[in-house]
């Protein structure tokens, strides 16, 4: 009887431990995918939660000691990501006029007003992976615009010549 009770208790403890463990693992591995608009509109809801966010690296990767700031733009807004310095080594392209930046997926804790960073809206990333590589953007010249430059130049020269003639 005593043994049966002991077994039952141990089984219950095991089950509770298993359930809690799987909850923690689920929380860690299945962070909710969110967009910048969802974060901004529901900042209080997501505050302090683990989330997943995907976007293009834009601007500079700014190294600060052992960490770095990376700004990820998901097509609507850019959000600041605070990440360990060694994790940003894979970034090759950052988005600008001439480059499409690498697409990164990050997982980490979202802060509506980060205590560590003066109340900033940011994500402290723990998992940081490149899902698509950026590239150099090729400028294609618009022939119509180029022709317009020459037509307007002709018109401007004509006006300047007329001005000179009038002054004489």
């Amino acid at each position: 009887m005593k043994n049966a009770c002991k077994k039952l208790l141990l089984s219950a403890i095991f089950l509770v431990a298993l359930f809690s463990g799987s909850c923690i693992i689920a929380e860690l591995s299945f962070a909710q995918n969110v967009t910048s608009v969802e974060l901004i509109n529901n900042a209080k809801f997501y505050d302090g939660k683990r989330i997943a966010y995907k976007g293009e690296v834009v601007g500079d990767v700014m190294l600060r000691g052992n960490f770095a700031w990376v700004n990820l733009n998901d097509g609507v807004n850019a959000v600041g990501i605070w990440v360990k310095k060694e994790l940003v080594k894979d970034i090759v392209y950052t988005g600008s006029y001439k480059f499409r930046g690498d697409i990164l997926e990050v997982e980490g804790v979202f802060h509506r007003s980060c205590i560590e960073h003066g109340g900033d809206f940011d994500i402290h990333a723990e998992i940081f992976q490149k899902v698509a590589s950026g590239s150099k953007l090729v400028e294609t010249q618009d022939v119509n615009k180029r022709n317009l430059v020459f037509i307007l130049l002709g018109a401007l020269c004509l006006i300047l010549i007329l001005n000179q003639l009038k002054m004489r």
């Binding site: 901004i40 509109n41 900042a43 209080k44 834009v58 601007g59 500079d60 990767v61 700014m62 190294l63 600060r64 770095a68 700031w69 700004n71 733009n73 807004n77 850019a78 600041g80 605070w82 988005g95 600008s96 006029y97 509506r112 007003s113 205590i115 960073h117 003066g118 109340g119 900033d120 809206f121 940011d122 400028e139 010249q141 618009d142 615009k145 180029r146 317009l148 430059v149 307007l152 130049l153 018109a155 401007l156 006006i159 300047l160 007329l162 001005n163 009038k166």
Partner: protein, 500 residues
């Protein structure tokens, strides 16, 4: 009886308008150099087109309307108000060609926002904008902040009398130096000295923050132009939040305050008269209103627990307050956070600060500190009159560079302009509400546009109705010119239609 304007009036207006347009045309050379430096071909073509169109219009107008006559008051005012519309239309050309704007109206909105040093933006995909176009956005603020007409005054206009009328028409009724052209040149000297120092300071902070050297100094220059001219554009879509840096925020705050100070006061500080900063009615009023509005914002934020630490509350609250009060519009939060998180009381504090503005003869918009100071002095005078015996003579004085006795004329003028601003804020709010936005959001955005601030609570977006875009463009224009030139233009059109 209203007199119909003469043909000669149109000629004189056209001639000086042409001069201002030529002046604008030459400013396109700066982004052209930038496009060449960074090997940006399409932007180079965009700016060449804008340069040529401007010079064609400018030289065409001066050729058609050639005259030796100087401007009278009415003509001077009309030249100024038309100049601002013309440079908006022409300055929008390269922006529209860049492909970062959904329509020409959006590009015009951006150009007016830049020239009027507002900072509300409709740019799309800003993080991929070329250096040349981005510089142009900020340069519009530098040109508009100092005064579009001031460029023409400094370079092209020979007649001092006519120059003064254009100078006054651009909401600058104070001369730093006896000669208005020398005043214009002094304003440019101050601005360029600060531009060099400010760019260096921000560039160094940017480098220490981990930015690449070229980007650090490019951003430094752009952000300086937007801060000193109390504009509010920034090179990246996140505005100042992009930098995630307290030192950057501190430096921009100092520059914003410098931009909000009267150029006349700058002159006296340069000349070593440092006591003026403690005595001047404008700086004293600015300090008091900053403290009062910050108190309102701080209570609003702390009641809702928006920032859990006092230091963070101060950093966010005070930065946005200074940004709003100086009419800059820099932000380290997202536009929607104002509405979603800050709460009504903090928003009211920011709206009050935006409505008040900075110093007269500075680059800020809004009612301005001198007028607020004068109104309060007049109120104090009236209270004293009630308290003292009837036969007592009550004289009120204030210190603005020198001791000045308060006159009814200056009180009336301060009240009139204040009333005009309040009406302008209200009109924009009513149109905003008519378009379906809530009251506080509409008031916030309308005040921001009319006081040339640039903080947004999320209404300013490319999807907003065209009528609201046009309303904000007109508010930015009227607010920047402080009404007189706009009224003169309306009067001129009425006279042209109804006059005999």
């Amino acid at each position: 009886m209203i007199f119909k304007p003469l043909f000669e009036d149109f000629k004189i207006i056209g001639y000086y308008l042409g001069k201002v347009i030529i002046g604008l045309g030459f400013t396109f050379i700066i982004p052209i150099f930038v496009a060449v430096f960074f090997f940006e071909t399409n932007p180079l073509i965009d700016f060449l087109i804008a340069l040529e169109v401007s010079l064609i219009f400018g030289f065409g107008l001066t050729r058609l309307c050639r005259t030796d006559k100087d401007l009278n008051w009415m003509q001077g005012m009309i030249v100024v108000s038309l100049s601002w519309l013309a440079v908006t239309l022409l300055g929008a050309i390269p922006l529209n060609l860049s492909g970062h704007f959904k329509s020409y109206l959006d590009a015009c909105f951006e150009a007016m926002s830049g020239f009027a040093t507002t900072g509300l933006t409709l740019a799309q995909n800003l993080d991929h904008m070329s250096y040349a176009h981005n510089l142009w956005r900020h340069l519009t603020m530098f040109i508009g902040g100092q005064g579009i007409v001031i460029i023409a005054l400094s370079v092209f206009v020979k007649g001092i009398a006519g120059a003064f009328k254009m100078y006054v028409g651009e909401a600058r009724d104070e001369r730093v130096l006896p000669n208005v052209i020398n005043t214009a040149r002094f304003i440019w000297l101050v601005s360029i000295v600060y531009l060099i120092l400010g760019t260096l300071a921000l560039g160094i902070v940017g480098m220490l923050n981990g930015m690449k050297t070229v980007n650090a100094f490019f951003h430094g220059m752009c952000v300086f132009m937007a801060a000193f001219d109390t504009g509010g554009f920034a090179p990246q879509s996140q505005n100042i939040l992009y930098y995630h840096s307290l030192p950057f925020e501190v430096v921009t705050m100092v520059i914003m305050i410098l931009g909000a100070i009267n150029f006349k006061l700058h002159y006296h500080l340069w000349m070593g008269n440092r006591k003026e900063i403690y005595k001047n009615i404008e700086t004293v009023t600015l300090f008091i209103t900053l403290m009062i509005t910050f108190f309102i914002v701080a209570i609003g934020l702390s009641r809702l627990g928006v920032y859990s630490q006092a230091l963070n509350l101060f950093r966010k609250g005070f930065y946005h307050l200074v940004s709003g009060h100086t009419g800059t519009g820099f932000s380290t939060i997202y536009a929607k956070q104002f509405i979603n998180e800050w709460g009504n009381l903090a928003l009211v504090g920011i709206i009050c600060a935006m409505a008040l503005g900075g110093g007269v003869c500075s680059t800020t918009g809004g009612i301005k500190m001198l007028r607020i100071g004068i109104i309060f002095k007049a109120l104090a005078q009236d209270i004293k009159r009630i308290m003292l015996p009837e036969r007592a003579i009550v004289m009120q004085r204030f210190h603005h560079i020198k001791e000045i006795f308060l006159e009814d004329k200056s009180v009336r003028s301060a009240f009139m302009i204040t009333m005009a601003y309040l009406v302008l804020y209200s009109l924009g709010s009513i149109i905003g509400m008519w378009c379906g936005y809530p009251f506080l959001d509409s008031l916030f955005e309308s005040t921001s546009a009319a006081a040339n601030v640039g903080l947004s609570c999320g209404i300013t977006d490319t999807a907003m109705p065209n009528i609201l875009k046009v309303t904000y463009i007109l508010q930015m224009w009227a607010g920047r010119l402080e009404f007189m030139s706009v009224f003169a233009l309306i009067g001129f059109f009425v006279a042209a239609v109804k006059g005999k």
